[in-house]
């Protein structure tokens, strides 16, 4: 090849590859890496959004305290979507194309994340989902979207198997929500029922945000329910527990991780004592949980500590996975490298859930779940041995 042809070839290559490189490196300067996330930071869903945001900020603060990654400090830009899908999509577009963040640490709740998939996938930006891990987000796997957590179906499956073994031959009652979350819980329960053949005598689906469960609980009482699955989030589960307390019934009750926050125990009062819960995150009352609280106290204010819950842990763990991948890419930080390193994540220990790995070709960490029980006296969930 002549020198002239070689130069033309080089120039053409630069022209063609130039914008791609520039796009891949957005959000990275010599001194800073800018990350972004969208979540509900106002209104009732802020209970999870703010907590998640604190977890991500904690992971970033921890790394920044050690000098950052390869000399670059980390900064987080969080946008509020109010739990409205169209705002999630718009906020993500803003983060990607206006604020030019390097990676994303949250796509809000499960419904919002599913609606955001085309935007995030098309951009190719490294993305961690650690709030609502539902199947459509990781099936089929997308090269840049990584889900840290466990599927609702599998969590419910494990909880039901545990309760079926612990309380054999009992009558079951199930109340679930009318959305994708409720569908997932019902599917998990169906799978467990096929294995253990327990007797469901009462089943009801309620409208999201319903607050009065007097009718449902009365029917559950009449049906003689002895094992009860409260498939709400927080306020719904509290309302169900309070109603059961009023009716003088106390079946063995199981709740699911979106509602497994300590604030729920406080709201439900003594009625919450002894309820079972399933989660892939360690309870705060455990040794691992206490270590996490100690770490959080170093970087978060007293007011912020009051808002720490399991979502702080999922946010922290998700951010740790991303930061580990960014670190492995060294100084030449690109989206391609980060996505490749994220896919190679193996046995990353965060101390607050089982080590995180992504199997070959998978973008789902498939975390191991554990059963825990509420202790109202200490306002804590404790692992069931």
């Amino acid at each position: 090849m002549s020198i002239r042809k070689a130069m033309i070839f080089a120039a053409a290559s630069l022209l063609l590859s130039g914008p791609r490189c520039l796009a891949a490196d957005q959000g990275v300067t010599d001194t800073e890496i800018l990350l972004g996330e969208v979540e509900p930071l106002t209104g009732p869903p802020a209970l999870l959004g703010v907590a998640h945001n604190l977890g991500v900020r904690l992971a970033l603060a921890e790394v920044n305290a050690k000098g950052g990654i390869h000399g670059r400090k980390l900064r987080l830009m969080a946008l509020d979507d109010g739990y409205v899908s169209s705002r999630t999509v718009q906020s993500l577009r803003k983060l990607i194309s206006v604020d030019k963040v390097f990676a994303l640490t949250s796509l809000s709740g499960s419904g919002q994340a599913v609606a955001s998939l085309p935007v995030v996938e098309e951009a190719g930006i490294p993305t961690i989902v650690s709030i609502g891990p539902v199947t459509p987000i990781y099936t089929p796997p997308r090269k840049n979207i990584f889900v840290v957590g466990q599927a609702y179906e599998e969590g419910m499956h494990q909880l039901a198997l545990f309760l079926a073994d612990k309380f054999p031959g009992k009558k079951w009652g199930v109340v679930t929500q009318d959305d994708d979350y409720g569908v997932a819980l019902r599917e998990g329960l169906k799978k467990a029922k096929a294995e253990k053949n327990f007797n469901v005598v009462f089943e009801s689906i309620y409208k999201r945000n319903q607050q009065d469960f007097s009718s449902e609980m009365l029917r559950a009482k009449d049906a003689g329910v002895e094992v009860f699955i409260a498939g709400g989030i927080i306020s719904e589960n509290v309302a169900m527990l309070k109603e059961m307390e009023k009716l003088g019934i106390k079946p063995a009750t199981g709740i699911f991780w979106p509602g497994r926050v300590e604030a729920m125990l406080k709201l439900a009062g003594p009625a919450s004592d002894g309820i079972y819960a399933v989660d892939y995150v360690e309870p705060i009352a455990s040794e691992e949980g206490q270590r996490f609280v100690e770490l959080a106290k170093k970087y978060l204010s007293a007011e912020e500590m009051g808002r720490v819950n399991r979502y702080t842990m999922t946010g922290y763990a998700g951010a740790r996975v991303l930061l580990a991948a960014i670190e492995k890419c060294g100084k030449d930080l690109t989206w391609v490298c980060t996505n490749n390193e994220l896919a190679k994540t193996k046995e990353l220990a965060t101390g607050i859930m089982a080590p995180i790995s992504f199997e070959e070709g998978s973008r789902f960490s498939n975390q191991k779940v554990q059963i825990m029980q509420a202790d109202f006296k200490d306002l804590a969930f404790k692992p069931v041995k």
Partner: protein, 348 residues
């Protein structure tokens, strides 16, 4: 000698505009709007698209609430129906997107007859509550008929290819939404100056007087319901395409409230009000965010977790202040500005 500017014929009275200057400005606006999607980055493009979709819905609601005086909180129910009609027809039945868009209008229009007939004797808050109940019933039906609607799982929707033209890219989709918004605007403006439009306004102003003048309240109120729902259904379909995923959860009740806020802030009862209100409400969260960012990172850190709550309150405060000091909405402000311009330096 003429002592002023007078409109002497009915044709002049109902003409959309008789000013060459206005026509030139409108032509320039059209050129800017056609070129803008090719120049804007994806975020501003998505804002423009959302504005166009919201404007279609607001113009639809304006026919029912602004012109006929029937307050509806079931707006979101018609949007959901439109979105599902499009999603089922194109994604499940694999019909042509044009047929999908037509069904997105027809299905809510048919549903509006079902809700419209029992609501004919109702006005004000009673009608608002009835339409609100309708929105909840629609959501429940969608969740129950999961064989057709896939229940709470929702349906993925792809952007359409219409008559061989693909609208898959953000730019093309923005142009499609803006074209439909412009079409809706022209259609509603024409409707307003027709016999039907005048009858609707007469019903709003005094329904007994309108009846005395020979206006059939049943027919015209139903007409308003059907036309409004058809347009709102189309906006729902476009909203579904924008989200690429149609689910009941994606259409919160908040959308109904926002739509009413658009009409009130813009100036109820005018198409221009619906347009200005849309621009204002869609841009307001961005404006408050920008305003908040002026406080700097340090202040945001001091406010900690309360920072976003404060931002959200600021959004509400702006609307309250606006209504307090400009009760006629943005249209009133626009008219004041015009008068000031024409009469300056005299008082307007």
């Amino acid at each position: 000698m003429r002592s002023g500017y007078f409109k002497e014929t009915i044709a002049q009275q109902i003409d959309l505009t008789d000013s060459a200057v206005v026509r030139i400005w409108l032509a320039l606006l059209v050129v800017v709007l056609v070129v803008a999607p090719f120049l804007l980055n994806p975020f501003y493009l998505s804002l423009l698209t959302m504005m166009a979709i919201t404007m279609i819905g607001a113009l639809g609601l304006n026919i029912l609430t602004g012109w006929t005086g029937l307050i509806s909180l079931g707006h979101v129910g018609f949007m959901v129906l439109g979105a599902y009609a499009y999603a089922i027809s194109t994604s499940t039945w694999k019909l042509d997107p044009l047929i999908g868009l037509l069904l997105a209008g027809l299905v809510p229009a048919f549903a509006s007859i079902v809700v419209g007939i029992p609501s004919l004797r109702l006005t004000g808050l009673y009608l608002a509550i009835t339409t609100l109940a309708f929105a909840f019933i629609i959501n429940q039906l969608i969740l129950e008929f999961d064989g057709l609607t896939q229940g709470a799982r929702g349906i993925f929707v792809t952007r359409p290819t219409i008559l061989g033209v693909s609208f898959k890219s953000d730019t093309a989709f923005a142009l499609l939404c803006m074209a439909l918004a412009a079409l809706t605007l022209v259609a509603t403006l024409n409707l307003r100056r027709s016999r039907v439009g005048r009858a609707l306004v007469a019903i709003r102003d005094n329904d007994i007087a309108a009846r005395v003048m020979g206006i059939d309240l049943t027919v015209y109120k139903l007409n308003a319901f059907i036309t409004s729902s058809f347009i709102i259904g189309v906006s729902g379909a476009l909203y579904g395409m924008f989200l690429s995923y149609v689910t009941v959860e994606g259409f919160p009740f908040l959308l109904s409230i926002e739509a009413l806020a658009i009409l009130i802030v813009g100036g109820i009862g005018t198409a221009l009000g619906a347009v200005l209100g849309t621009i204002f409400i869609v841009l307001l969260p961005e404006f408050t965010s920008e305003l908040f960012s002026l406080l700097g990172d340090e202040t945001a850190r001091t406010l900690s977790t309360g920072a976003h709550e404060l931002k959200s309150m600021l959004y509400g405060v702006v609307i309250i202040l606006f209504l307090r000091f400009q009760p006629h909405g943005l249209v009133g402000l626009w008219r004041d500005c015009k008068r000031l311009w024409v009469n300056w330096p005299l008082r307007f």
